[in-house]
Symmetry: C2
Subunit: 201 residues, 2 copies
DNA sequence: TTGTTAGTTGACTGGTTGGATAAGTTGATT
DNA sequence: AATCAACTTATCCAACCAGTCAACTAACAA
């Protein structure tokens, strides 16, 4: 083996952060390299294009985040509580980001997805996949809640689709209005959408 | 007064279309000028920056669209039917766009809003304003439905917020998944969210 | 110690960007 | 027909962009 380095990891991390805070189009390869303290040549040693880097960065971010999602949606936890924990997690994530960057950053996958959906098929598919992975958690929680008759829905898949759309739409508006407070409605509204028997703490 | 021209209008129209079909960042001033068949100098005669053009273009688009919205939400029409008409309108608009451009284009305001919210305060405020104008229609329809006891909501403003968030989230996902079919769920889900007594045609 | 592999460097290319302007043309008003 | 604001044209530029490359260096294995 030859020498090793953390340049690739730094590029992935910096790219994800910069794109989340700004947008895909507003961030240049030079900028990413500069902030990651990596030379342009090294960038092209590891990645073919900016889109390749972005796709890899989003995959890495998902893998880093997955254990947290597994914890939140643990089968140990009652299904409706999983959902309200998930809402808390979203709120907290956005709050931390907002304090650090001075504005609501929204859902990183959805932002890039919307920006590039009509322009880059690979990126579109990747964001589609990531959103699907996320909403699977929601779906399984709703399915279990239905089995336990905690919830009044016909098809868990459809219900998850509705809940997840609402969450994405709320995040989108929170970003555009730059208003964290909006996200406090997430949990109660979701419970109401599901016809939950009782509000969970 | 000096001479007149339609260069400004052409720029506004072309800018809106190009940005909707692609994204703000992916469209250059040169590109807009070329497609509008207008020279760069003329562009700078009418607008100071690309962001100024975009803001003006979105305002013009809204004004063109407003009569249609007034028609859809006419007080002549029963309030719940207004909402289902609105859903049809969204579906039709997206369908036409998709057939023309080969992909779902989503909500033009939300797309640009999400892309530039953290980068350009003026654009952020403009998209916020446009989204507010749109959701006002929804709110008034829900308020009237409540007065007529067609609907089971406590606060019309909150309910409108929920309905509108869901619609935006669904449009967002339809764009990312490039799937028009998703939008067919819009009307029935909204009626269910509002606890409507009966499904309206 | 020497060969091989993996990673690094930074200057370079050639095209595009937003932004600017000077000089010219047009046409409604007087 | 004279006036002058409104508009057009062609061109410019510095900054920035993605992408290339050949020379270089560090780590490991034999």
């Amino acid at each position: 083996m030859g020498r090793t380095s953390d340049a690739k990891d730094k590029l992935l991390q910096v790219a994800f952060d910069l794109i989340w805070d700004n947008s895909y189009g507003a961030v240049s390869i030079d900028q990413i390299c500069q902030k990651a303290d990596v030379n342009k040549g090294s960038f092209y040693h590891f990645f073919r294009t900016k889109a390749d880097l972005a796709i890899a960065a989003y995959e890495v971010h998902w893998r880093q985040k997955q254990p947290e999602m597994d914890r939140i949606f643990s089968p140990q936890v009652p299904p409706l509580e999983r959902l309200s924990r998930w809402c808390d997690y979203i709120y907290q994530t956005q709050k931390v980001k907002a304090e650090k960057y001075g504005h609501i950053c929204g859902c990183p996958y959805a932002s890039v997805g919307v920006e590039l959906a009509t322009q880059d098929e690979k990126v579109r598919r990747k964001t589609e996949e990531l959103i699907e992975r996320n909403s699977k958690y929601v779906e399984s929680a709703i399915a279990e809640a239905k089995r336990e008759e905690l919830v009044c829905v016909t098809d868990p898949r459809t219900a998850a689709q509705q809940v997840y759309s609402y969450a994405l739409g709320l995040l989108l508006q929170a970003k555009i209005r730059n208003d964290l407070k909006m996200l406090r409605n997430l949990a109660p509204t979701i419970m109401k959408m599901l016809g939950a028997k009782e509000v969970v703490a």
